[in-house]
């Protein structure tokens, strides 16, 4: 049986029938089984040549270090990636250091600001206290001065010790 005989390929019966119908429509007649003639010496030689060529190609292709080539091709990329990675690692370290420094500076500044603010508050409190005392004192002085009438006088020729004249006794509390 020829290798290309449709029966060898287990074609369904409907396909065989369809082919027969189509051949009939085209006017080709029934499908003839290919002649299994003995191949000529020339064709045999050509077939062997092709087989040898295929074997030669297979051998040469197998010698190719595919993984080695791939590794060699990937090496520059790998080196670039490693370089980039180490550079990135260094950059990250630097960034971390700078961030730490900035944080400590910020803490120092906030501490200074807090102490300054407390100092200001203390000063303000002291000032308010002084003002309050001054107000009290001034009020007291005003109250004390109310019954008195101070008349500036010419300095007497005779030194009496005071430069004012008392006109009324201190009020008795």
């Amino acid at each position: 049986m020829s290798w290309s005989d449709p029966a060898r390929r287990f074609e369904p019966a409907e396909d065989v029938q369809l082919r027969a119908e189509l051949r009939d429509l085209l006017g080709l007649g029934p499908m003839m089984a290919p002649r299994s003639a003995e191949p000529t010496a020339e064709l045999k030689a050509l077939a062997e040549d092709l087989r040898r060529e295929a074997q030669r190609r297979s051998r040469t292709e197998r010698k190719r270090p595919t993984w080695g080539l791939l590794a060699a091709a990937a090496l520059p990329l790998l080196a670039a990636l490693v370089g980039l990675g180490s550079w990135g690692f260094q950059q990250k370290h630097r960034a971390d250091d700078l961030a730490g420094q900035a944080q400590s500076q910020e803490q120092e500044l906030s501490r200074l600001a807090a102490s300054h603010a407390s100092e200001l508050a203390r000063e303000r409190q002291a000032k308010e206290q002084v003002q309050h005392q001054l107000q009290l004192a001034s009020r007291r002085d005003n109250r004390r001065g109310e019954p008195f009438l101070v008349i500036p006088v010419e300095k007497p020729l005779k030194v009496t010790g005071d430069d004012y004249q008392r006109v009324k006794q201190n009020p008795q509390h």
């Binding site: 080709l28 299994s36 077939a47 190609r57």
Partner: protein
């Protein structure tokens, strides 16, 4: 499945010689129909590629036809930008050559009047005697599409034979 160095895709050495003797002229003719400039080279290259494969091919015939088709179309690729008729480039059955020896004038005329897409499937099925599965492998389309194309080609052939009309059903 890998094949041993002495084993061929067609089995023994004798089987390979017989298959080569039978297939080689057909493949040369097939390449010529695609307008290949060197159809013999293309057919031989297809055999070399088939035997070079480490893994056995399920359908060697389909593989050979598919490889010849691809190589023939690739050979024509540099001419893509020229103003060539698509009919002349990519349609089997138009370039003449071995077809003229196989088919008579009337059959060739009927084939020529078919739609190019259907003609290709019909040619492989009827003239080359390939199975639906093999044609699907060659054209890289589903088997159902091959069947559809063949049935539509059949309908077109019936229309040619009955130009006055008539209703027919796609089976």
């Amino acid at each position: 499945m890998a094949q041993s160095p002495q084993e061929t895709p067609f089995g023994s050495q004798e089987a390979f010689h017989a298959a080569f003797a039978e297939l080689y002229p057909r493949l040369v003719s097939y390449a010529r129909r695609y307008g290949a400039n060197f159809p013999e080279d293309i057919a031989q290259e297809a055999f070399v590629i088939l035997m070079q494969r480490e893994v056995a091919v399920e359908h060697p015939t389909a593989f050979l036809y598919g490889t010849v088709r691809t190589l023939s179309l690739t050979e024509r690729r540099p001419m893509k930008n020229q103003n060539l008729s698509l009919e002349a480039v990519s349609e089997p059955g138009l370039a003449g050559g071995a077809d003229d020896q196989v088919l008579n004038q009337e059959v060739r005329e009927r084939m020529r009047m078919l739609s190019p897409t259907f003609r290709e499937a019909l040619w492989l099925f009827v003239v080359e005697g390939l199975s639906i599965r093999e044609i699907a492998d060659i054209l890289d389309i589903p088997e159902a599409t091959v069947k559809t194309r063949i049935h539509r080609a059949k309908a077109q052939l019936k229309d040619q034979l009955n130009p006055s009309g008539g209703v027919h059903v796609l089976v």
